[in-house]
Structure formats: C-alpha cells, structure tokens
C-alpha cells in the first residue's frame, strides 16, 4: 500500500519537479556562500532569505491548491494555518533568546517582562525544545483544521458560505492575537530572534541552510500532494470538486475526503509558516489578516489551480513581481495586483500552466487531460470516469 503510494507519487512530472527543486536547494546556497563576489553568478546576501520567503509562500499556495484546485474548497483562511505554524516556530525562537533579551530574563520573553507576567503561561511550556515546537507546528494547524473542517463539512457548508466562514475564522484569530493578554506578544508579535538549533539566525550560513530546508520541505510537500492526487482518493477529491452531490449519492463519504484534504493542507501551510518565520525574523498578527489569505488564492490562480506545479510557479512569480513592483513603482502595486485578480479570473481561469498546456494540447490533442477544473460551474457534466465506486478509504 505504502510502496504503491510512493510509486504513484513518483510519476514523471513530480520527479522532474522535485529534481529541479533539489538542484535549486543546492545551487542557491552555493551561489551565495561559495562563489566569490566577483563571479557573475554570485548571489547577494539579502537575496537568500528573500528567495526563502518566496519558497515558503509557494508552499502555502500549494497547500491551498490541494483543497481548492483539487477538492473545490475555496478557503479564505489559509493564512491562519500558515501564521499558526509561524507562531509555534516563533515561540521556540523566543525561548532560545534566553538572557540576551533587553530585560535579560532567562525564562520570560521580553514582551512578557514588559507586560508584567510573573511566570510563563502554560501554553509556552515545552517550546524551548525544538522537537516539541516542530510537533506543534504540525499539530496546532492540524487540530484547528480538523475541528473546523469536521464541523463545516459535516453540516455541508459549501461554496461561498464556506469561504466566508473561513474568512471569519482567520479574522477572529487576527483579533485574538492582537490582544496582549492572549500571551503572544499582541500587536508586535514575536521578533528579535537570536538562535535556531544553536545557530545564529542572522548568519549567512544559517540562512542558506534555512533556504535549503524550505526547498526540501516544498519537495516533500510536492511528493505528498502528488501521491494524494494520483491516488484513488485524489480522483474522489476531483469528483467532489466537480459534482459534490453526485459523488455523495454514489456512496462516497464526501465529508471525510474533504476533511482529510483540509487537514493535510493545513499541515503543509503550518510547516511553510514555520520556515517563513526564521527567515523574515518576525511573526505578528498581521499574518492572519483576511487580505493575506485572499492573496494566496491569487497566487494559486495565476499559476494554475488543479496542478501541482501551478501554485508553485504562481507563488514564486507573483511574489517576485511584488518585490520588484513595490521597489520600482510602489504606488502602482495595488493596481497591478487588482488587475491581476480581474484578468486572471476573466482570461486565464486555468492559470499559466493551463495556458501552456492548452498550447501543447493544440499541437498534440492526445495529451489533453481532465485534471483541470472546467471553466463553467455547471453541475450536470459527466463525472470523472476512472474513479471506481466504493468507500473512499
């Protein structure tokens, strides 16, 4: 069973993608650390954490794609899982500061001393241990996604209503994390990190390592997603996306399939957030803002939803575009982003990947496939035929 899953994950496209990613995870640190400044291929120091940030964003877009592109659940709250993972990592990093903080308290982070905390709140226990923090990075988003998804999918909240309550969820978390008395640093969030696993987070080598770790995590996420969508379960997910009621009437447990996809997606988002925080050096409640979650949707849409590589391309391209744009014409970035939203939904519903694929398809009709969502939301189109009726597990 497991070997079968791995074998499925290693279909040709995923292998190519992972190989390229692993190459990148080696090449970028190499270009930054080893090549001399004079080399035309030398990468300046600021670029490494910047690229690392893009990679974590791409991972977040991939997570969203798993639920939106393959399962038809448009979550407008995925930034919440990302931020929760980030906070778990941030808590670990805060505990590593120790006596080097402004107030020099060996246990309490600076903001707690400032807010007159007498002792560490119970939910901060254990975060001085990296592996405990890593476990929380996975568990916290997973548990939230499980509870939320369990309630929502069981009650058959779908479509726009689901999107709106996911937005309400991230908004509620935004407000909660702004509160000082929640014990997560309030408005300022967690910052001023020193060490990760004993290495200085500011050091260039650490940053290169974090970049490599991000790319490797993305590769693992690609393999996981690829395994899921190529399995029978993946076919059922696509069936749910295209005709939920019909899939349910055929006897599939639609709620369970959706819940599974939602939880896996939340975990990927959480890991992405955990890798994001040490590279940008701060996590604050702004990460929970609903606008962030909506932006993730556009990365996925630009790249091409319903594909594995699409959201990665989208996440990298849009964010690189944002960095360039906000540097050169800061006042026009919102115009560009807004136009991107409108134009992509109007003219490129399948994104960049869909566009390229349609060019190929025109040349070679045999390569046409039906993994992409159709352009219309009509429900009375034929079901995907290769999913066999039976329990989804």
């Amino acid at each position: 069973m497991i070997t079968q899953l791995i074998f499925r994950a290693l279909d040709r496209k995923a292998v190519w993608l992972v190989s390229i990613l692993l190459l990148v995870s080696f090449a970028i640190p190499f270009a930054n650390l080893v090549l001399p400044d004079s080399s035309p291929f030398h990468l300046p120091n600021y670029a490494v954490p910047l690229f690392g940030k893009y990679v974590t964003y791409a991972m977040l877009a991939l997570a969203l794609d798993l639920v939106w592109g393959y399962c038809g659940i448009l979550s407008l709250g995925h930034a919440a899982f990302f931020a929760l993972g980030g906070y778990a990592m941030g808590m670990y990093l805060m505990r590593q500061i120790g006596t080097r903080g402004v107030y020099g308290d060996p246990i309490l982070p600076d903001f707690m001393v400032f807010l007159n905390y007498k002792s560490l709140p119970w939910f901060w226990y254990g975060f001085d241990n990296f592996w405990f923090a890593a476990l929380m990075v996975v568990l916290v988003p997973a548990i939230l996604a499980f509870i939320f998804g369990f309630l929502a999918f069981r009650s058959r909240v779908t479509g726009v209503y689901l999107s709106i309550i996911t937005q309400a969820m991230t908004y509620a978390l935004l407000l909660a994390f702004f509160r000082n008395d929640l014990g997560f640093g309030g408005n300022n969030g967690l910052t001023d990190f020193k060490d990760i696993l004993g290495f200085n987070v500011q050091a260039q080598a650490t940053r290169a390592a974090l970049f490599a770790a991000s790319v490797i995590a993305l590769s693992v996420a690609v393999l996981v997603c690829s395994a899921i969508v190529n399995s029978k379960l993946g076919k059922v997910m696509v069936a749910i996306r295209d005709a939920e009621s019909r899939t349910r009437f055929l006897g599939y447990r639609v709620d369970n399939v959706k819940l599974f996809a939602f939880v896996v997606s939340a975990v990927i988002a959480g890991v992405a957030g955990a890798l994001y925080v040490p590279q940008v050096g701060i996590i604050n409640p702004g990460e929970f803002s609903p606008a962030n979650s909506i932006e993730v949707v556009i990365w996925t849409a630009v790249g091409g939803r319903g594909t594995i590589i699409g959201p990665i391309i989208g996440g990298l391209l849009v964010n690189a575009g944002k960095s360039i744009f906000t540097g050169v014409w800061p006042e026009y970035w919102l115009y560009a982003l807004g136009a991107l939203f409108v134009l992509v939904t109007l003219f490129m519903p399948k994104g960049i990947v869909g566009l390229i694929r349609s060019i190929f398809t025109r040349k070679n009709p045999a390569r046409a496939d039906n993994t992409q969502p159709e352009e219309t939301g009509q429900t009375d189109r034929p079901l995907i035929t290769d999913a066999q009726p039976g329990p989804a597990e």
Binding site: L74, F148, L151, A152, R154, S155, R156, V157, T158, G159, V160, Y161, S163, I164, I165, Q167, A168, M169, Y171, A172, L175, A176, F178, R179, N187, E244, S245, G286, S289, P290, A291, I294, V297, I298, A301, E331, Y332, L334, Y335, L337, G338, A339, L340, F341, V342, V344, T345, L346, P349, E375, T376, G377, Q378, T379
Partner: protein, 586 residues
C-alpha cells in the same frame, strides 16, 4: 462591530460613540485656557482659607471654561480694577462693589486673585497688575486681558492688602456671581463644582441660590449638592434622613457615589436607609444600562444594516459575493465629501443642506460604477461564484488605490450639519443626534428597498430571477438587464451607506475594508431569502455585540460573535432565512 481589517491594530469599536467629532465645548475650552490670565496660579491659593479657596478657584476655572471668549469685557473694567489699588479698606470695598456691579465675566477671577494676594499696584503708574513670583523678580500681567506686562522687582510693586472681612465679602460675591449668575451655563457649572467639592461653607449660599433657581436641571444638581453637604455636616438625624431621601430620589451614578461615601461616615441608625437606597439605585441603574445598551445596539445595527443590505441584494439575486462592496461604501463617502466641498465653494448658503444633494449624488454615482463593474467583469463570470469573489476583490484593490491617488491617503473630513451634531438626554440616557439620524436613515432605506422589491416591475423581475433564473428567462425577462440593474441597485445602496458613515467614521480609502467582513457576517447570518433576514441579522449582531461588550471588552466581543456565527452556520448552512427548493442549491 468588526470594523477593522488587515494590518492595523483593531481600534475599540465606535470610539466616538456618543461623541461628536468636535463639540463647541472643546473649542471654547482651548481658547478660554489661552485667555486665562495667569494660568492656574490661583490654585496656589492660601492654605489658611482651606478648601474654600480651592473651591473658588475651581469655580472660577469652570466659569471661564464655560464662557465663550466672544463675550466682550465691559469697557471701563480696567479703570474699575485700577480703583482696587487706591485708598484703604473702605474704598477697596466700594471698588469691589463697583466691579461686581458690572457682572463682567472676568470679575470673579480678578476678585479671587485679590483674595489670594496676587494683585499688586505698580508704583510707577499706579496700575493694578497680576504678579507671580519668577525667581527674584515678578512676572506682571494685566489682570483683565492676561497680556504680559514685563517683569518687576519687589521694590517696584506693592501688594494690595485685604483683611479677613474683605475676604469673606469676596467669597460671597464670587459665589453669588456664579451660583446666582444670569447665565445658565455658568450657574450649571458652578452648581456641579459645588456638588463635586461639597464644602460646608457654601451651604448658606447654596440655599439662597436654590430658592432663586428656576431651571429644573440646575435645581436638580443644587438639591443634590445641598443634600451631600448636609450629610457631611453635624446636622440632626432627621435632616440627614431627608437629605438621603433627596439623594436616593436622584437615582443616578452621582447619587450612588455620594451614598457610598456617606455610608462610611453615617451614624448606625442611618446605615440601613442608605443601604436600601443603594440597592434601589443599582436596580434602576441596571435598567438604564440595559436601555443604553439597547440604544447602542440599535445604532450599531443600523450601521450594519446599511452596510450589508446592498450586499444582500446582489448576493441574493445574483449569487455574487461582491468583495468590492466595501469600496462602494467608500465611494459613497467620497461623493459626499466632494459634494460638500462643491457646495461650500459655489453655493455656501446651502452648506447646511449638503446632505440632501449628497444622497442622490452618491446613490447615482455608485450605482453607475456598479453597473459598469457588472457589465465589464461580472457578467462573464456567472455560474462561477468563487471567481467573482476574486475578480471583485481585484476591483476593490484598484478602486482603493485610485481613490488614494486622487484624494490622497489622509482622512477627509465631512463636516456634520448643525442638526446632526450634539446629543440630548433622555432620562439616564445620552443619545447623539448623528446616531439617531442614521437609525432613521437606515429605516428609510430599508423601507424604500422593500417597496422597490415588492411594488415595482423591476422588483418583481428581480424576485423572479432570484427564485428561478432559467424559468424567469423563459418567461421573457431579460435576465442580463435585471442583473445589471440589481448590481446597480445594490451598489447604490452601498453608496447611501457611505453617506451615512461619513457622520460617524473617517473618510479614507481603506474605510470600506472595515465594513466588508461585517456585511458578510450579517448577510450570511440572515440568509438571502429576503431583506427581513438582513434586518434581523443586523439587529441581532448589533445587539449581541453591544451587550457582550461590557463583559468581554470590545475585541473579545467581536471574536465571540465571529465564533458564534461560525457555529451558527453549522446549524443553518444557508442562514436564518434561506430560500427553500432546488433552485438555490448549487
């Protein structure tokens, strides 16, 4: 309620609830403090006079604050003031009488300075000056205008002496000038400060003032003050009992504070009376609190209703979640701003009625923008509701940035017309006019929309399209036209909301974002079956929020409401008033 998005700290909601943008009082306060001769120097009064000096300083300060600076001084006031420096005590007494006879607003302050020993005669020209010690020298000021007159050494000036008889006279005169003043505001602030300090020395004066008082509000305050003073003195038990009854009959928060203080010092036989009184006051206060919460809730509900009702129309009829809805609200607010400025520039006489022009202008403009958006973007996306959400989000970003480019990122001020400023009191409640008008406006808009939907051909067509699009189309209804009109109507109503919100919120490019999530919550909670759902949604969310706020705080109240909505949607995935039947299922 949910009035913050994105990167900013969530403000306490309705931070200006009950407070107009700027009030006349604030302004006067600032200016008056500028004009105040000698600043707070009187407060450094002689301790021998004890609390009374403090009281009087307070009285005069209150007095000056309450008096508009526009009130001109009496022409011969400087001459009369200079007379204070001449002759001995009998002449001084006459000069004081003459000053009091002018009833000028500056007189109490000047007399207070005299009593405190801050008035001096300049030897060179016999001018009476207000002197404060600054190092070795004295800083001189004109006692009337407060303008600086340079400095002098102790040899140059001579203190105007007063004896205890004169001090007593001054005390009475100042008290009479304030408590017995002909100006209502002066009397009120004097009475309130007597209530705050409750100095037994003022009792006789207070009784005199009370006998002459006709204004019920001031009389109220004075009675309370009298009772408080009696409770402090060694009056007989019966007198005190009567005083306690007076306090209890007032039944407000001041009375509660007074009784709590009295409870500490009261003789044992009075304690049960006071405790009973406290209990009855807290009962009535609780009732007033509930009433006040109802009013806050209604006010919030009206804002939510205005913001959400346009969304309910577009979502209900077209299944489009219009993320640019908040920007329509924002455009409506900016139209109000532009119309106000145009009118102020070209027809200043109509400035008071700018609202009357803003309302149709905002409706038409935003409706036009809405129709353009529908024709340009949304009509290509029917049947893909999630993607309209993305496209309209893009539009909202563009609109925000466009407004930022044209008008700048700063907040714009829409000055409220006079009839919308200020507040009035109703029993223990304070109601601001702007909030009240917004409630009225929301009710009018709601009624008008109900009429449009139920009594016009367009409304009939909209309802037909809502219930069964294909059937309506088969019956010859031009569904694309209905869609465009519906979107225009929804956007226009959002514009109207923008007009109303200029009165309680800042007009800024990001203001729409503050309302979009609120609007969603209302619509999702109420369901899209009909507008009553939106009304009930707005009222329940508004009320729930305001009743939770006192216990949980503003932010936590919002969080609780959001979580409750999420849970509610589990029970009723299509809101309170869902359309039944196959047509609404995806």
């Amino acid at each position: 309620m949910f009035d913050e998005l994105a990167h900013r700290l969530p403000n306490p909601p309705h931070k200006r609830d009950g407070v107009p943008r700027w009030t006349g009082n604030n302004r006067v306060k600032h200016t008056a403090q500028h004009l105040l001769p000698g600043g707070g120097d009187w407060e450094r009064g002689r301790r021998t006079l004890g609390g009374f000096v403090l009281l009087m300083a307070f009285l005069t300060a209150c007095l000056l604050i309450a008096v508009p600076p526009a009130m001109a001084q009496t022409a011969d006031l400087p001459a009369l003031v200079n007379a204070l420096g001449q002759g001995g005590f009998p002449e001084r007494e006459k000069a004081i009488d003459a000053l009091v006879a002018t009833s000028d607003v500056h007189v109490p302050a000047i007399l207070q300075a005299l009593s405190d020993g801050n008035l001096y005669t300049r030897k060179s020209d016999a001018l009476v000056v207000l002197a404060t010690k600054a190092g070795d020298a004295y800083a001189l000021k004109d006692p009337v205008s407060g303008s600086a007159l340079g400095t002098a050494t102790s040899d140059d000036i001579e203190k105007i002496k007063v004896n205890n008889g004169l001090r007593g006279k001054i005390r009475t005169e100042i008290g009479e000038m304030t408590l017995l003043s002909t100006d209502r505001a002066t009397r009120l602030s004097a009475a309130q400060s007597v209530l705050k300090t409750a100095d037994p020395a003022t009792l006789d004066l207070l009784k005199k003032a009370l006998a002459a008082e006709t204004d019920p509000q001031i009389k109220n305050v004075m009675e309370l003050a009298e009772a408080v003073i009696i409770l402090k003195t060694n009056a007989s038990i019966d007198e005190k009992r009567a005083a306690i009854a007076t306090v209890i009959s007032h039944g407000d928060r001041d009375a509660q504070t007074v009784l709590l203080a009295a409870l500490q010092t009261a003789p044992d036989e009075l304690k049960p009376v006071i405790e009973d009184g406290l209990a009855s006051i807290s009962r009535s206060l609780q009732l007033w609190d509930i009433a006040q919460n109802l009013i806050y809730g209604t006010s919030l509900a009206s804002v939510l209703l205005l913001a959400a009702i346009g969304l309910a129309i577009t979502f209900g009829v077209m299944g489009v979640i219009n993320m640019a809805h908040g920007e329509m609200v924002m455009l409506g607010a900016y139209v109000t701003f532009v119309v106000q400025n145009l009118i102020a520039t070209y027809v200043p006489g109509l400035a008071e009625y700018a609202m009357a022009f803003s309302i149709p202008a905002a409706f038409l403009f935003t409706a036009l923008v809405g129709v353009c958006i529908e024709r340009g973007v949304i009509r290509w996306l029917y049947g893909r509701p999630l993607e309209t959400l993305l496209a309209t989000w893009g539009i909202s970003l563009i609109l925000q940035q466009a407004v930022r480019t044209i008008f700048g990122a700063n907040n714009r001020l829409v000055a409220p017309p006079n009839w919308m400023t200020g507040a009035f009191e109703l029993g223990g409640l304070t109601i601001t006019w702007n909030r009240l008008w917004i409630v009225v406006f929301a009710v009018l808009v709601f009624t008008a929309l109900q009429l449009v939907l139920n009594r016009t051909p367009l409304g009939l067509q909209m309802r037909a399209v809502t219930q069964n699009r294909r059937m309506a189309s088969a019956m010859g209804i031009r569904t694309p036209f209905v869609d465009a009109m519906t979107f225009g109507l929804g956007s226009g109503v959002a514009g109207l909301a923008g007009v109303a919100l200029t009165q309680i919120d800042n007009v800024s490019p990001g203001m729409g974002q503050n309302y979009i999530i609120d609007s969603f919550m209302v619509v999702v909670f109420g369901g899209v079956g009909n507008l009553w759902g939106t009304l009930i949604g707005a009222v329940s969310l508004g009320m729930a929020n305001k009743f939770l706020e006192p216990y949980a705080g503003a932010v936590l109240a919002k969080i609780i409401i959001l979580v409750l909505i999420i849970l509610f949607i589990q029970r009723r995935p299509r809101g309170l008033f869902a359309l039944k039947g196959r047509a609404i299922e995806q």
